[in-house]
Symmetry: C2
Subunit: 698 residues, 2 copies
């Protein structure tokens, strides 16, 4: 996939220039300098030779096949160029030129026409409005970046070109290498999903994929593709525009529609994309994945020549999802035999300040050999007698071939330059402070959990879809978007969820009869498609205990509804069995413009509303995801049972999430839905939907 762009046999630079000040010159020179081995054709209206290569007035004139055209001409000319490329059989375009969607409606039209041409000729396109692409595996530098990165196994895509240049600049000094490096630009054709899919097929060159994203075009597709890729290659994303203020900046920047934060959180979570909270973290994590084997578990051993940093790392480990390994007795014995008596042979293994490389050797070997250890963090502080280089070499030697990752924090700088180079050259990820090393190993644990997770089990419930379809059709035919309570009840029922038994009464006498039939006490509620907040108008009465009360309630409710609105259509009063108490939760749905239906789960009631303790998942939801969702609210202990209470019927709560997810997947016209409250009884006793609200697309 995308070979025409990353591994073309030949490249034309349309807009190549003999003038060193021009981008078109810089790009041609970059292609030459990086050592690309295919044919290169500069295209320029008049020049016959640029940078010692024969130039051509147009792609039509090029005597040989062209795989890739890098386009760096004024925006207005790009259509013509793309057309010519298409005719000439070009298969890939990298459009550097700006002046498209990012400048407003006019540019947007131009971009759409450009895309239409590439589609027509079956070409793939990066950009427009981008810095270009770099592939160190084919030594192609089709960009105007000032620097060419070291070769390495990190693939990086960025929606910000400037960030690309900054990262390149920085990575040169850090000695960090890349396999592919792409500035996505306006993402008219190739976007994050296309790249993810293409890069996900090449585990050999891409050990980790990084993405700087301001928005995601097609959420569904992103989730579907990422879910596959992340099982084999870790994908780390930094999504900016996460805050309100940030989101404003994002839409003025690339016109990206910034998705709701909750939807992104849920999406990344459900497709195994690791989220970096800062640029620093993005690269810290990348280094660990690019350099070391994936951590087999979460048990960390720490080897240190200083107590303080050992404590710092221990603190950090607990915050980052790692556990301190409990060393095996044999390890402790081996350490005790070999280390001075002042050393600590437990974890953190403190080989104390005067440790030379030999002591690091003993401790690191013991830790790596210990079956209770999944990863080792080696801390080094320069002290009198320390041997930084020799220690680095010992680490390189012992970690080679080990299935357990080793990370280091050689603290300091002045006296450890050579050691740092040795570590980096041999792919030992080093971090200037222990917390950063620990955080990177913590990201590995998250990836390990994702990889080990069994494939999602998607249940399909046997439901009465037709009934809902017909019902929605009727609602729409009446020009409504909100379902009345009776209608919502029918939907809930059709999708197999339990409701309190209830019947509609149309007179006080009928209310009394129904109530007697259902059994007292009952609840009575106004039934009208025009009254949404029934309680607010006094349209709900609880605890009705006998036929007389039922008759009175009917009249009172009807009177209040009339008083509230003369025009409201009143269907009657719903008489409902009064259900016994249980733990009340809510299951809600909203629809994210990028990711589709977002299912919310939380406890019901004002406490939790005030605490905003709600967990989200995107539909479709797997069994496991529903289970995690329920467990990820902070108030979960209340469902599990506190103070000796029996656990709630959590399995049923999960099932309701799955049924709701199926419903909103079956009916994309549902834009909003609330089951609130859902009364969950004790384990084994089920749950009952007390109230539901459904709103269709207008």
């Amino acid at each position: 996939m995308l070979e025409a762009i990353f591994a073309p046999r030949s490249v034309a630079v349309v807009g190549a220039s003999p003038d060193p000040a021009k981008l078109g010159h810089r790009i041609l020179k970059n292609i030459l300098d990086a050592g690309y081995s295919g044919r290169i054709f500069p295209i320029h209206p008049r020049a016959t030779q640029i940078l010692n290569l024969p130039a051509y007035p147009s792609v039509e004139q090029v005597p040989e096949p062209i795989d890739l055209a890098v386009v760096v001409v004024p925006a207005a000319v790009t259509l013509e160029v793309a057309e010519a490329c298409g005719k000439r059989g070009v298969r890939g375009l990298v459009v550097i030129s700006a002046g498209f969607k990012e400048i407003g409606p006019e540019g947007r039209v131009l971009e759409e026409r450009l895309l239409e041409i590439t589609r027509r000729y079956n070409m793939r396109m990066i950009g427009p409005n981008c810095l270009g692409v770099i592939d160190t595996t084919t030594r192609l530098n089709a960009s105007f970046a000032a620097l060419y990165p070291h070769a390495g196994q990190i693939a990086f895509m960025s929606q910000s070109g400037a960030l690309c240049t900054a990262i390149l600049d920085w990575s040169r000094v850090q000695g960090i290498g890349f396999s592919r490096f792409v500035s996505l630009g306006n993402k008219a054709d190739v976007d994050e999903v296309t790249l993810l899919q293409a890069w996900g097929c090449d585990k050999v060159h891409n050990r980790v994929i990084l993405a700087y994203l301001e928005g995601i075009g097609n959420g569904d597709e992103f989730v579907a593709v990422a879910r596959q890729v992340t099982k084999h290659i870790p994908v780390i994303a930094i999504k900016s525009g996460a805050t309100q203020a940030g989101a404003r900046a994002a839409s003025s920047h690339t016109g990206a529609l910034a998705g709701a934060e909750h939807a992104y959180e849920a999406a990344f979570d459900q497709c195994g994309v690791l989220r970096a909270r800062s640029m620093q973290e993005l690269f810290d994590f990348a280094l660990a994945f690019a350099y070391q084997p994936l951590i087999p578990g979460d048990r960390l051993a720490i080897v240190t020549n200083a107590g303080g940093p050992g404590i710092i790392a221990t603190d950090a480990a607990v915050h980052c999802g790692l556990r301190l390994a409990e060393l095996a007795p044999a390890t402790i014995a081996a350490l005790r035999a070999a280390l001075p008596s002042a050393a600590s042979v437990y974890n953190p293994i403190d080989i104390i300040g005067d440790a030379r490389a030999d002591r690091y050797r003993v401790a690191l070997r013991a830790a790596l050999d210990d079956p209770n250890v999944d990863a080792v963090l080696v801390l080094f502080t320069p002290q009198a007698g320390s041997e930084p280089e020799e220690t680095a070499r010992v680490i390189v030697e012992l970690s080679a071939g080990s299935p357990k990752p080793v990370a280091t924090s050689f603290m300091g700088a002045a006296s450890i330059g050579e050691a740092l180079r040795t570590l980096n050259d041999h792919k030992i990820p080093n971090y200037p402070f222990p917390e950063r090393a620990v955080a990177a190993l913590g990201a590995m644990v998250a990836q390990r959990r994702w990889v080990d997770r069994p494939p999602g089990e998607y249940v399909h419930f046997d439901v009465d879809r037709e009934r809902v379809r017909a019902l929605f059709a009727r609602v729409r035919s009446e020009g409504r978007v909100e379902l009345g309570e009776l209608e919502a009840r029918q939907v809930i029922e059709a999708y197999g969820m339990r409701l309190p038994r209830s019947l509609l009464a149309q007179s006080p006498e009928e209310a009394a009869e129904i109530a007697a039939h259902l059994g007292f006490p009952v609840v009575m509620k106004i039934s009208s498609p025009d009254i949404l907040h029934k309680s607010d108008i006094g349209g709900v009465k609880l605890g009705i205990r006998d036929p007389d009360e039922a008759r009175d309630a009917y009249e009172l409710i009807e009177y209040r509804a009339r008083k509230y609105s003369r025009e409201a259509r009143i269907w009657g009063v719903l008489v409902q069995e009064q259900v016994r108490k249980g733990r009340e939760v809510l299951v809600g749905v909203s629809r994210d413009p990028q990711f589709g239906p977002l299912i919310a789960f939380g406890l019901s009631g004002i406490y939790v509303e005030a605490l905003k303790d709600v967990a989200f998942r995107l539909a479709p939801v797997s069994r496991q995801e529903a289970a995690e969702q329920v467990r990820s609210i902070r108030a979960f202990p209340i469902l599990r049972g506190v103070r000796g209470e029996p656990p709630a019927d959590i399995a049923t709560a999960e099932e309701i999430i799955l049924r709701v997810a199926q419903l909103v997947t079956d009916f994309p016209e549902i834009v909003e839905m609330d089951i609130n409250p859902l009364v969950v009884y004790n384990q084994g006793e089920g749950a009952i939907v007390l109230d539901a609200r459904i709103i269709l697309r207008g």
Copy 2:
């Protein structure tokens, strides 16, 4: 203060050695190399000259006065040396030698004796078991550190010597300078409090104080001293051993008693110490404070030549307590006039990719001049045509003398080395990624809020202290530590908190009479000093509606109490007015070994118990602290009123916190106390203590 240690007129090195492999040699050499201008006396049993200085066999033989003695002899010899120093009139000791508290009980005894000697002769001592001290203002390097730091205005103390060496090593390359640099060692005499007090008096040299702490010896004193110092000099601490696992490592490391995390949080919060979450943050924050004026407010302007980093910084700003400044119309007009049309003249000010230094000049000047802006973050990504060095010089020029801090994130490394040097040389704090710059400015906002905060108002309520004293005496005389409910009620009453009216009944008939007197409904509860969890044994009955029910309840409760325990002393049954409902909170007290009484506040009930939504403050508590405490629980909206509810009587809740704080300060023997629930009524209607539990020291 501590002049003998940091600014001695003369220094003796006891244990100086002619052998370059020895620490005693290294220290002497360090003192010489750093350029210390006072007299230096090597002390060695036999040598007559070391490093070209005349040596003496003992301090007694030194012909001139000695201010400071650096001691680097075996632990066993230190007592003798200290004694000799004391006699000789030495005023300060830096004891490098190890072999004290850190090695166990034997060492602890030695350390106590050493301290006793220093106290007797009125000497101050750093250490033992430390790396030494460095003062760049007096060019004193009384340490065995391999490197001498750049001079600067950051004072640093560390409980880990190894961390000191690592930081020194690292700071040399980063170009970060220090005023004082102290390895605290075992803190036998001089500890974090002493240093804080000494350094707090020298604003000129110490613009910011950093501390790496594993434990704090005297919490009260720390809070009292820090509260003063932080008003003038920012203090940033990293406290390790914060997690359970970390705390274990800490106590095995220096024998420091790791305090409860909540107590540290509360202490730092109440005395204005900024807490860094990582080593990286510690120095990131320090740089901003050391280099720039304190931020006047929280409104940030961002100037950038790239959209992506601008969005990243915007996101980060919101997370770090900053607001994006709304630029004044004049600023926007000025920017619009001077910048190209593609630029964004709103905040972030995007001067776009081809910006040279002149455009940075326009934008930075406009931002600094804008009255709506409190600080400016300048982002720079190297792009074609960028002028990193010139841009750095523009920033240096414009920020000079401005009362608003300027921070930068020049991203990259390879092409911006010279610019980074210029920025650092001229005290512009630069960070490799925008998020770190923003976090540092966010720390400044926290410091600004602290500095601007009016002095704490400590209320003293008129209470009946004597009554409580007498009561506690009686409880103790009976060999009890837990107060019975009636006793706890008396304490609550004596400290001016409202209780439901209640009286003790000792027969069914009396219960009926009391209930009639209080007015039905009433609550009845067993009264026994031996039954703590009254509800659990069925010893509480609610909603008693008439005299018959009162009589029945009495008998039932008495029967159950007897069944529960034949031996329990039963005082009778408490008959209490049944109070109306309100919002239920808890006010609790526990006693932290380092910081004393820790007051907890949260909502009552299982929801909040499950959510662990509790805020802590150390007593004494000021009015403002109580107000913040109440507002800092996540569930605060419930007290403020949600869904149209009126607000609760928050002022009374605050007052109860203050009264409880006064109570536990007056009576240090209270080790645990719970007011749970405190029923808080609507604003203006007060609050009532429903149940209280008090436990005294055993």
